[in-house]
Symmetry: C2
Subunit: 349 residues, 2 copies
């Protein structure tokens, strides 16, 4: 692609015998240019197959109307639903949403952030990766005065707004639900506690045990990732214990699914012998023949509110004095995998 | 964000008493500038909190190393897997992938395309929306001389490369599989036949019926969308017929799932009374207690090959004479929902 072949405003100005500045103004709808001249220039430009350099235009206007969203993965219903919420809120305002994935790697996250900043983006929405400890790449966004809003997974940086779930409460109510179903040996499949969200779910779990006077047993806590296999492995490990759990509270739906598959393979009845609760309300939890109880994180709402926070921020004349911390309530969706009350008495072992 | 507050290269040149051109060259690592001057300029720029305009830089370099991908939805495993394939192939070449969704609307698709073009993208990968009939917005990409590769869902535009599945063959082998399982009243839940992929699956289905001397019955063809509910509705409609089907070949997994749920609700045994085959090999098809037979579209491979086609294209000096049409073979993953051979004879009705 040789740029020397491209028609420039100088070619148009030569053809029409007017100044290049006039051509430029006409193409950019400058009101100083008469309608007649504008029409002539646009017509000639089209005939000569002239293409305005879009980046040059964006430079002139100082904004692109693009906002970027960076998520660990796009293929989790939670993240794609948050993005949908952002889109629904910002599209009517003329914004376009472009998306990048970090694949849970801080280096990729930094590169994606850089790639989006390179496109002169008007704002960034971000859910940090599991490996994001340092924040240099994120601070760069602020240095460039690009509005930034965290959602779900945040890092504490002064003056940056965030919209998150009350994960502590979520951990508490999931555990409390299992206790009320009659469970007392409740295992927790925890996410990576480098992430605040997983730490909070774990703390909520411990607090519920404490409130109901159940001893916390560290052997019942297994760290998993978001893969099905890690849930299967967790059951493998837990069933080597003398005192086997009678409930599983998983910090993620995929690990919960793996746990259920492994429990079924061992002919353990769900929920009669072991109740299972997942987290995220991924669509498959509903579609299973034995639907899985899970925590809804209201992702659409989270996206919409994050978008509203962004819109408020760009409206402010001095954007960086505003800092909003929105915490959304979780909602436990109780399904068959933990609902013993649905069963007839004779079914319960 | 007032730009008047920003430090410019003129401020730096004034402070150092050198020309703005020298400052600019120093900041852009121009070899004409001595190392000493470069260091002084960089140091001063940093002290004055100067930020280089990234767009201006991209303009100068003529490339951003960003490529854009436009898909109907990010939350379908097929599309997110293709994107993963593109990433795996292009990341080692220094490219960053940014993603936009059309939500199956041609207007949104056009706007997303425009948004990506506005970021001076180095290439576009695209799977068109269901409503994409006109191609003006796509031709604009070619006019701007941006490399374009279609994947899965393409539109025939001369000189544009594409990587697609052999959907005709896929429709054929899915139907043939059902015939070999002993089915003869095979219903087809078709996608929107405005899309070539769904037309081809439908044609493959008809050809298999013909080859096995089974009459084609138009009453057995129901158009569905990619929602579970439309699969349930399809069963509702089909079961009003005098001669009920003994097999369902769905052009999508979500409709297949809905069909199975509705069949189960009607106490119809799968696969004994009705065999079910879906399409896409979405992860949930594997996780069900009754796993669903489905067509694997080798999305990771599709993404990798699309990326390779792009890389070849940008390497060419005269890129637009190259046109590759890659057609990938589908793979039927046979699971319990259509596998009667797995059952004992006594189970088969």
């Amino acid at each position: 692609m040789k740029s020397k072949d491209k028609v420039t405003i100088y070619d148009i100005s030569k053809k029409l015998n007017i100044s290049a500045a006039t051509v430029s103004r006409a193409l950019n709808n400058n009101p100083k240019i008469s309608e007649k001249t504008r029409e002539l220039v646009v017509k000639t430009a089209r005939e000569m197959n002239y293409k305005q350099n879009r980046l040059a235009q964006a430079l002139k206007q100082g904004r692109t109307n693009n906002v970027g969203v960076i998520v660990p993965y796009i293929n989790r219903s939670f993240f794609s639903s948050v993005i949908r919420g952002i889109e629904e809120e910002l599209t009517p305002h003329g914004y376009h949403i472009i998306i990048g994935q970090s694949h849970e790697e801080v280096e990729i996250e930094a590169e994606q952030l850089n790639a989006l900043l390179n496109t002169q983006i008007d704002g960034i929405f971000m859910s940090v990766s599991k490996t994001t400890q340092k924040t240099d790449h994120i601070k760069k966004v602020l240095e460039e005065q690009t509005p930034l809003v965290f959602f779900d997974r945040k890092i504490d940086i002064p003056s940056v707004s965030s919209v998150v779930l009350d994960d502590y409460k979520a951990g508490y109510i999931a555990t409390e639900h299992l206790i009320k179903e009659g469970c007392s040996r409740i295992a927790h499949l925890s996410g990576d506690i480098n992430l605040e969200i997983y730490r909070n779910r774990f703390e909520g779990y411990k607090k519920a045990l404490k409130d109901y006077e159940i001893d916390f047993n560290p052997e019942y806590v297994i760290q998993v990732n978001s893969k099905i296999e890690s849930g299967m492995q967790a059951i493998d490990d837990l069933w080597k214990l003398e005192e086997k759990p009678d409930a599983i509270f998983s910090a993620g739906d995929y690990a919960a699914l793996g746990a259920m598959q492994e429990l079924r393979a061992r002919k353990i009845k769900i929920p009669q012998e072991v109740c299972v609760v997942g987290f995220s309300n991924e669509p498959f939890t509903k579609y299973m023949e034995l639907p899985i109880t899970s925590m809804d994180q209201t992702p659409l709402m989270m996206g919409k509110i994050a978008a509203q926070v962004f819109l408020e921020q760009v409206k402010e004349t001095n954007a960086y004095t505003v800092e909003k911390k929105v915490v959304l309530p979780p909602e436990l969706i109780i399904r068959d995998s933990s609902n013993r009350k649905l069963l007839k008495l004779s079914d319960v072992s």
